[in-house]
C-alpha cells in the first residue's frame, strides 16, 4: 500500500513538474498589450536578426515590422530581455519611408519629447532600459491598417570560455516581475518572415559551430575563419528548395491569424549558438583599438586568454548548494534539478555537501553536511525532484542559512542557483556583499534566465572571489556544468592586477579584477594617449604563490577598423558606476557620470534613453546628431570588415605572455614513432613466419 502511494506521489510530482514547465513558457519577448483589453493588439509581421561576432564583440541588428490591422492609430510597445552586458546603440524608425536614427538624451527629457510628439500625432520612437530586466521600445503611431519598420542594434562583448564561444539571442523573459505580468499580455508571434543570421569570424581557427536547441539551423564554414548560422521560417537551404516548415525544434504553427501560408515563429525560446576554437592554441593577448589620426587619445579593448597552468585540486571540499525554489523558478526548475544532480554525481571522494532551499524563507534539505556517497547523492537528487517551486524570493535568508555551520578546517564553496530577483526580506545589495564577506568562502553563482538581477549576483561572486555563470533554458546544461566544474576543481589565479607601463593609460575598467578561473578570459577596456611600445604585467597568486606574466607590444598610432570599441569601453564604465550605485546608493555624481557617458556615446542606460523624432523636430530642439554620425562611422567600418578575412589581433607573438596552451576540454589518442618502432620487430617476425590456418588448427 505504501509503495502504491509512493508511486502515485512520484507521478504527481512528475505531472506538477511538467505543468510548471508549461506555466513558465508564456514569458517571452514580444509586443505588449494591456491585459484588460482596453487596447487591441498589434502584430509582429517580420523579425529579422543579423549578428556579427568579430574582434571580441558581437553586434546584433534586429529589424522588425509591426502591423496595425485595426481602424485606429495605435502605439507599439516591444519588450525584449536584456542581453548580458549588452547596450542598445541604435533605434531607427522609418518615417515617411525613410530611416531616422535616434539620439540619446537624459531619460526624462527623452520621455517628455516622445510623449509630446505622440500627443501631437507625429511619428516618434523611444527605447528605455528597465533596470537589469528588459529593453522597452515604444513606437507611435502605427497608422491604422498600415505597418511600421523599426531597427534596434545592440553591442556586447563576446563570451569565450575554455575555448568555447557562446552567444545568446535572449527571447525568453524570466517571469520574475509579477506585477508586470499581471498588467501586460505579450504577443510573441511573428506572422511573416522570421530570420536569424549569425556570422562569427576569428583569426583563431574555429573547428565547429553548434546550435543545441535548433537542429534545423543551417551551419556553414566559409573561407578564412568565418562560420555562418542561418535560421528562419522561410529559409531556403539550397536557394531554390521549398520553405522549411514544421521541423523539429522550430516552433511553427501554420494556422496563422492572418491566414497567410507562412509558419509562425514564436519568440519564446532563447537562441544559443556555440563555437569551438581549435585546441592547442597558445595563451595570448589580443588588442583591439580605436584611435583616429586627429586624436591624441585612443580607446582599447585588451583580451587576455591565459595559458592552462592551473593545476587540479584533489583535496576534499565542502559544498553548500543554495537553491531558489520560488514561484518564478517554475519554468527553470527542471534545469536547476538536472544541473544539481549532475554536479552531485561529479563529486569526489572526501567531498561533503549541504542543500539549502529558499523562497519566502529558507530551510535545509539535508541534516547538515553529508558525505557525497552514491546513496546520499541519489537520496537528495530524488528529494529535489519532489519540490514544487512557489512563493517569493528571500535570497538573503537562503544565503544567510547557507553560510552557517561551515567547518573552518575544510575548504568550502557555496553554489547559488537562482533566477536572482530578491523581492522579500533584505534586498539591499550592500548588505548582501557584507554578508558574503564575513565568511572565507568562494561563491559560484549560476544565473538562470534573462531577467535575473545579474549585477547583484555578479557582484556577490566577485566579492567572494568566485564566478558567475549565465544559463539559459536553451543551453547545453551538461556543457555549462563541465566548464563550471573544471573551474572549481582547479586552482585559480587570485588577486589579479594588471599594469601597463611605457604608455599613458587611464579609465581602465574593470577597476578591480579579482580572480581568474580556468578557461576564463580577462577583458580590459581603457584609454591610451600617443602611441608606442608598452610593457604589460599581469600579476596574481596561485595557491599562495606569486605569479607574474608579462609581455611587450605596441599601441597603434591610428586604428579605425573598430570604432565600436569606444562604446564598449563606455558601457563597461557605466556598468561599474551602476555597481557602485547598487552597493552604496545613488549619488548625484555617479548618476551624472552615467548620464554623460550615455549621452556622449549614444548608450541606453538606467538614466538615458534613445528617442527618435522627425528630423525637423531634432533640429527644432537643437539636438545634436552625434549618434547618427557615430553610426555612420560604425557602418562604414563594419562594411570594411565584412570585405576582408578575419584579422589576427594578437599582440604578444614576439614576447608571449604565456608559455602554455589555453585550457580546453579536448583530448585525443595518438600513436607515434615509438609505437611503430616497437611493432617493426614484430612485423619482421610475422613476415618470417607467415600465418597458416591449417598449421594453426
Amino acid at each position: 500500500m505504501n509503495r502504491q502511494i509512493g508511486i502515485k506521489y512520484n507521478w504527481l510530482q512528475l505531472i506538477l513538474l511538467v505543468v510548471s514547465l508549461f506555466a513558465g513558457s508564456v514569458y517571452a519577448a514580444g509586443l505588449l498589450t494591456p491585459s484588460d483589453g482596453s487596447v487591441p493588439p498589434l502584430e509582429i509581421r517580420d523579425h529579422q536578426v543579423d549578428v556579427v561576432i568579430e574582434d571580441g564583440y558581437a553586434i546584433t541588428t534586429l529589424e522588425q515590422v509591426f502591423v496595425n490591422p485595426h481602424d485606429r492609430d495605435l502605439e507599439a510597445q516591444y519588450s525584449f530581455p536584456l542581453p548580458a552586458h549588452g547596450t542598445v546603440v541604435e533605434l531607427t524608425v522609418w518615417i515617411d519611408g525613410q530611416p531616422v536614427t535616434g539620439e540619446v538624451l537624459e531619460r526624462e527629457k527623452a520621455r517628455q519629447l516622445y510623449e509630446e510628439e505622440k500627443a501631437a500625432g507625429r511619428e516618434a520612437g523611444i527605447t528605455e532600459k528597465d533596470s537589469y530586466k528588459t529593453f522597452e521600445t515604444r513606437v507611435s503611431p502605427v497608422r491604422a491598417r498600415q505597418d511600421t519598420r523599426v531597427r534596434i542594434v545592440y553591442l556586447q562583448p563576446a563570451e569565450v570560455d575554455t575555448g568555447i564561444g557562446r552567444y545568446v539571442y535572449p527571447l525568453e523573459e524570466g517571469g520574475v516581475d509579477e506585477s508586470r505580468l499581471a498588467f501586460w499580455t505579450a504577443n510573441e508571434q511573428v506572422t511573416g518572415n522570421f530570420s536569424f543570421n549569425l556570422r562569427v569570424k576569428s583569426a583563431y581557427p574555429i573547428e565547429a559551430v553548434r546550435t543545441p536547441n535548433q537542429p534545423q539551423a543551417v551551419i556553414q564554414s566559409e573561407a578564412d575563419g568565418e562560420w555562418t548560422v542561418q535560421l528562419g521560417n522561410r529559409m531556403s537551404v539550397a536557394g531554390d528548395s521549398p520553405l522549411m516548415e514544421n521541423q523539429e525544434g522550430l516552433e511553427v504553427d501554420n494556422s496563422t491569424p492572418s491566414g497567410r501560408n507562412t509558419p509562425v515563429f514564436t519568440l519564446d525560446k532563447d537562441l544559443v549558438i556555440y563555437w569551438r576554437h581549435q585546441a592547442g592554441l597558445p595563451g595570448s593577448v589580443d588588442l583591439v583599438a580605436h584611435k583616429t589620426a586627429d586624436s591624441d587619445r585612443g580607446t582599447f579593448m585588451m583580451v587576455v586568454t591565459p595559458g592552462d597552468d592551473l593545476k587540479p585540486i584533489h583535496e576534499g571540499k565542502d559544498w553548500v548548494f543554495v537553491l531558489d525554489v520560488s514561484g518564478s523558478m517554475r519554468g527553470k526548475y527542471a534545469t536547476l534539478v538536472d544541473g544539481v544532480q549532475r554536479a552531485l554525481q561529479k563529486m569526489q571522494t572526501g567531498d561533503r555537501f549541504r542543500v539549502v532551499l529558499f523562497n519566502n524563507n529558507s530551510r535545509e534539505l539535508t541534516p547538515g553536511f553529508v558525505n557525497a556517497s552514491p546513496e546520499m547523492v541519489a537520496r537528495y537528487s530524488q528529494a529535489l525532484l519532489a519540490i514544487n517551486p512557489d512563493n517569493s524570493t528571500n535570497l538573503y535568508a537562503g544565503l544567510n542559512q547557507g553560510l552557517k555551520a561551515l567547518d573552518a578546517d575544510r575548504t568550502s564553496a557555496l553554489v547559488l542557483v537562482t533566477d536572482g530577483v530578491a523581492n522579500v526580506g533584505e534586498t539591499r545589495q550592500r548588505n548582501f556583499i557584507e554578508l558574503i564577506k564575513k565568511k572565507d568562502i568562494r561563491m559560484f553563482t549560476f544565473v538562470l534566465g534573462n531577467s535575473a538581477n545579474r549585477p547583484l549576483l555578479e557582484a556577490l561572486a566577485k566579492a567572494s572571489n568566485g564566478f558567475a555563470v549565465n544559463i539559459s533554458n536553451s543551453d547545453d546544461i551538461v556543457g555549462q556544468l563541465l566548464a563550471a566544474t573544471s573551474k572549481v576543481t582547479h586552482e585559480a589565479l587570485h588577486g589579479v592586477e594588471i599594469r601597463i607601463d611605457g604608455i599613458k593609460t587611464a579609465d581602465i575598467t574593470p577597476g578591480a579584477i579579482g580572480s581568474l578561473y580556468r578557461g576564463q578570459q580577462l577583458v580590459i577596456f581603457g584609454h591610451y594617449w600617443g602611441e608606442g611600445m608598452a610593457d604589460v604585467r599581469l600579476t596574481g597568486r596561485i595557491s599562495g604563490e606569486d605569479k607574474i606574466y608579462q609581455t611587450r607590444f605596441a599601441f597603434p598610432a591610428v586604428a579605425t577598423e573598430n570604432p565600436e570599441v569606444e562604446r564598449l569601453w563606455a558601457y563597461a564604465s557605466v556598468e561599474e558606476a551602476l555597481q557602485e550605485i547598487s552597493n552604496f546608493g545613488e549619488n548625484a555624481d555617479l548618476k551624472q557620470a552615467v548620464t554623460d557617458l550615455g549621452v556622449e556615446y549614444g548608450l541606453v542606460t538606467d538614466y538615458t534613453a534613445m528617442v527618435v523624432v522627425r528630423d525637423e523636430i531634432f533640429d527644432k530642439h537643437g539636438i545634436k546628431r552625434g549618434n547618427q554620425a557615430r553610426l555612420a562611422a560604425e557602418e562604414a567600418a563594419g562594411q570594411q570588415r565584412a570585405q576582408r578575412s578575419a584579422v589576427s589581433r594578437r599582440v604578444d607573438t614576439q614576447q608571449p605572455m604565456y608559455s602554455s596552451n589555453r585550457a580546453n576540454h579536448n583530448g585525443s589518442g595518438s600513436f607515434d614513432i615509438w609505437t611503430l618502432l616497437l611493432l617493426l620487430p614484430l612485423a619482421w617476425f610475422a613476415w618470417r613466419h607467415p600465418y597458416s590456418r591449417e598449421k594453426s588448427q
Binding site: E207, A279, V478, T485, S486, T489, N664, G667, G669, L678
Partner: protein, 196 residues
C-alpha cells in the same frame, strides 16, 4: 579499414563536429559518436600516425583474426568509451584510433603468442606496457604534438579491454575455462557440506 579511415579524414577533414566523441551531444542522444569518435582525427599528423598503425596492425593480424577483428575493435571502443565517460569526466571532446588499436594489439599479440611462443612477441607486449606506463606517468604522449592534446590513459583502457576480451572469451583450454575448472571447482568443494 585503413582505406575507410583515410577516406573519412580526406572527406570530413580534421575533427568533424558530427563525428567526434562529444560528451554533451552523447547525453542528448547522439550515441553514434561512441563509435565514430575513434575513426576521426584532430589533424594531419594525428591521422598519419594512427592510420599507419591501423594498416600495420591490420597487416599483422587480419589473417589471424579475420571476422573477429572488427569485433575486437568494437569491444575496445566500448572499453575506451567507458573509460572516457567515467574515468575522464572533465573531458568533453575526444577523437583518435590509438585507444582501440591498443586493444587490437594485445589481442593480436596473445594470438601470436599462443601460436609461436616466440620471445619477440613477449618483448613487444612488454614494450607496449612499458610505453603506456611511461606515458601515463608523464601525462602526455611521446614526442608527438597533435591539435588535440593526448590522453595517455585511453591507451591503457584499450589495452585492458583487449586483455579482458581474451581472458573472458578467447583463451580455449586456458584462462576463463581454466579458472572454471580449477578455482571454481575448489570453491564448490569448500562450500559443500562435509567437503572437509
Amino acid at each position: 579499414m585503413g582505406a575507410l579511415a583515410i577516406a573519412v579524414y580526406l572527406l570530413l577533414g580534421p575533427s568533424p563536429e558530427a563525428w567526434v566523441f562529444d560528451r554533451v551531444a552523447i547525453t542528448q542522444g547522439e550515441w553514434w559518436r561512441l563509435v565514430t569518435g575513434h575513426w576521426v582525427h584532430s589533424d594531419q599528423t594525428h591521422a598519419n600516425w594512427d592510420i599507419t598503425a591501423l594498416v600495420l596492425l591490420g597487416a599483422l593480424f587480419e589473417a589471424r583474426l579475420r571476422w573477429q577483428l572488427p569485433m575486437v575493435l568494437l569491444f575496445a571502443s566500448a572499453g575506451v568509451d567507458a573509460w572516457l565517460w567515467w574515468g575522464e569526466p572533465m573531458l568533453r571532446y575526444y577523437c583518435g584510433l590509438s585507444g582501440i588499436l591498443n586493444g587490437l594489439l594485445v589481442v593480436g599479440l596473445l594470438h601470436l603468442w599462443r601460436e609461436t611462443r616466440h620471445p619477440v612477441v613477449l618483448l613487444t607486449g612488454v614494450g607496449a606496457v612499458l610505453k603506456i606506463a611511461v606515458e601515463i606517468n608523464l601525462g602526455q604522449s611521446f614526442l608527438i604534438q597533435t591539435a588535440w592534446p593526448g590522453v595517455p590513459a585511453v591507451h591503457a583502457a584499450g589495452f585492458l579491454s583487449g586483455m579482458v576480451l581474451m581472458a573472458g572469451i578467447w583463451i580455449p583450454d586456458g584462462g576463463f575455462q581454466w579458472f572454471q575448472k580449477t578455482w571454481s571447482a575448489r570453491v564448490i568443494q569448500q562450500i559443500q557440506p562435509g567437503s572437509h
